[in-house]
């Protein structure tokens, strides 16, 4: 087991190097210039000297090869450099935003799991009943609804309902406070985006749970368990669900990794200062150092999540041996 984990971690090095090279080249292939965005995006005037000074200051006047070597050498030392946009250390920029995205991702995952697994299981057990139809409709709607639309609609709904009831429109604060500073206010801020994201997340997981359960319920060992007179509750919980969870865990893992850096629209709509919003800003501003670091972060999280999912497989199904 330990050898497996170590070898998987070592395998991340070439993956990270490949991702680093890819993002480095891609960012530089995009037409544009961070200094032009910075100096002239408001339409105001600036001089060519100011532009040259800006290039020199952030180091994009240097050859690509030198820039890449600096980037990789920084990575090796755990130094992601400073943001070309703000001049602040990239680590600091990410550290400020990471807890926001992580909190939404964790709550959304909890919401998704608590909805998807019970409803997906019931849907499979009551296949083709009205319950199954309802659950499938809800899940398909969740997959088909764009997150930004759902986000805006949920805000409008909260505003309209609160205005209709109290006469004063209400919505959660748009000024985020950390959980440890003001838990109630924090939860009121993150709950709506977490529900919005969790719904879509639950919809995907629900469908996966249903189809996996349907498949497992037709297996010989389930038939055997029923034949030897085991209680249905035990058959479902101990034998069917545990095995059916294998693909569901994969989906949950992938979705969780996606949520860390992928809440781009949701964070914009709810004015959450998270990793997704930072990523958009970094790409828009052509902030190479920040984009590179964020991509590295997302790649690392995806790799680690996959590792955790693989370890979870072994726990769920003892036939799987990690070696």
């Amino acid at each position: 087991m330990h050898r497996y984990i170590v070898s998987r971690i070592l395998l991340t090095i070439p993956t990270l190097l490949g991702a680093a090279a890819l993002v480095f080249v891609l960012m530089r292939l995009i037409p544009g210039d961070i200094c032009l965005v910075r100096l002239g995006s408001g339409g105001t005037s600036f001089s060519t000297q100011a532009l040259a000074a800006c290039h020199a200051e952030i180091g994009i006047d240097k050859p690509w090869l030198l820039q890449f070597a600096n980037f990789i050498w920084g990575l090796a030392r755990g130094d992601f450099g400073v943001s070309m946009w703000s001049g602040k250390p990239v680590i600091q920029e990410i550290a400020t935003r990471f807890p926001v995205s992580l909190e939404v991702a964790v709550i959304a995952t909890l919401i998704a799991i608590s909805i998807a697994i019970p409803l997906g299981t019931i849907s499979a057990l009551k296949q083709n009943s009205w319950i199954d139809l309802l659950v499938r409709t809800v899940s398909i709607a969740g997959i088909a609804t764009p997150a930004f639309w759902l986000g805006i609609l949920s805000i409008l709904l909260v505003l309209d309902v609160s205005q209709a009831i109290t006469g004063h429109p209400w919505m959660p604060s748009i000024d985020y406070v950390p959980l440890w500073k003001d838990p109630i206010r924090n939860l009121s801020i993150v709950m709506l985006p977490a529900i919005t994201v969790g719904y879509r997340y639950a919809a995907v997981s629900m469908r996966m749970t249903r189809s996996a359960m349907l498949e497992v319920l037709r297996e010989d060992y389930i038939r055997t368990a029923r034949a030897k007179g085991l209680l249905e509750k035990i058959i479902i919980n101990r034998h069917a669900l545990k095995n059916a969870l294998l693909p569901v865990v994969t989906v949950i893992g992938i979705e969780f990794a996606f949520l860390i850096g992928g809440l781009v629209v949701t964070e914009q709509v709810f004015n959450l200062n998270g990793i997704g919003r930072l990523m958009v800003l970094a790409v828009q501003n052509q902030d190479y150092t920040l984009t590179q670091a964020l991509v590295m972060l997302v790649v690392t999280i995806a790799i680690l999540t996959n590792l955790v999912v693989d370890l979870f497989y072994a726990w769920l199904d003892p036939r799987i041996r990690l070696s």
Partner: protein, 531 residues
Amino acid sequence: MKTHRLLITATLGAVFSLPGFADETPKPGGILTYVIAADAPPSFDGHREETYATVHAVSPFYSTLIRINPENPASTTDFVCDLCTEMPQPTDDGKTYTFKIRQGVTFQDGSPLTADDVAASWNEITFPSEGVLSARGSNYRDLIDKIEAPDANTVVFHLKFATTAFLPALADPYAYIYEKKIIDKDPHWYEKNVMGSGPFNFVNYDAGQSIKGVKNPNYYHKGLPYLDGFVGIFAPKEATRVAAIRSDQAAIDFRGLPPSARDELKKNLGDQISVQESDWNCGSNLFFNHKQKPFDDPRVRRALSLSIDRWGGAPALSKIAVVKAVGGIVFPGSPLAATKEELQQMAGFWPDIEKSRAEAKRLLHEAGADNLSFELLNRDVDQPYKYVGIWLVDQWSKIGVKVTQKVLPTGPWFAAMRSGDYSVVHYPLCYSIVNPVLDVQAFVPGSAQNFGYFDDQQETDMYNKLLHESDPQKQHAEMVDFEKYVMETQAHATQVVWWNRIIPYRSYVKGFKISPSHYINQDLATIWLDK
């Protein structure tokens, strides 16, 4: 000119319920929460930044030498002292301005503010140290020869030549006065730190999220500010800002919102929302790439300008987009702007659109460009970029020109202009202080902002003449000639329509007076809450 001034006054005062200013006694206290229509700025250093996000976040913490009168911000010429004691009369044939500095002003750290700090700040803006970026430095270097502080109370600006552009330039809202000993020690310090002598003291900044300030008890304008403090929340998404104002999470967005947001807020909140509107010192311009055929031919460029029905289109566009006033390349509220009568003499601004379009077709035919088709480069920003772009495509179709719109994000949009990879670009320009003599520099060949790729010595000479002109009447005439030359004779570029600033805000916010720029009058000193 009178027509334009009347129009602006009417726009400012009449359209919506404007809270009375004169008959209300300001109430001290309260915290103002407002939304900043942008992501957090790259830095807090006003000297190096261009974005209004910097101004909206940190102007309340700083003082400037002079400024637009905060009680009359709609004016384009009413400049008053902030840190100086009296607006000076120039000496030395208009080349020297001597400012006396207020006594008893202190920075947030308790250090006294002296003429040395003012001179050091202005020297850093104009002649920045090695490795320091000054966004507007080159503009000032064209005008200013030397800045000195002969004693603790006096700052002297020596100009290279007398020009009417100097005082408005000096009222630049980004020209914060920093502490000399800090700049001397580390000229980059103000990029990441805030420490000024303005109406508010800095409390804290939640990176990328919000900024907080508290009343400066030692503020030198006695009785101000009225507020106990403020919270500025960065909220780049328009829907979020509108929802925040509706739910009273925020009271105001000082940049401006589109007509649909104004109407939505009024519909939902009625009298709880007040609205102020003003012509906006941002203009939607068209630049033609002279290096691409047939845009090297002035007849083609003129024809494209002639086909745009500005007088008919602007009122309709104003219902859905943040545009309204028709004007030339000079802000319509300025004394230097062409009057409506003068404007209507210029091709593209004729009152009879049928006549204009007939002439446009004739010119295209004469230039051998009957079946002209091209791509309009535009920026991927809704208001008003894409609205104006779509309208322009329709306008050009009226003379048989087929145009498609190519919308690019900010970075690639700039890159396309810089590399000359475009035919015609919709390139709005925004200015802070209305200073037409400097503002029209963008249309002069060689300017960093002129992406027309042409040389024109005659235009440069015309510009230099008006830059040095001190007689207001003559300068107005020269400016009108310049506009005619730029937009008609050569049609190097043209103005389409000026923007319209719409500020819907919670009615309990008092003391806010709209200005033609979202960059100016942002220190919040005169704002109070009637709660």
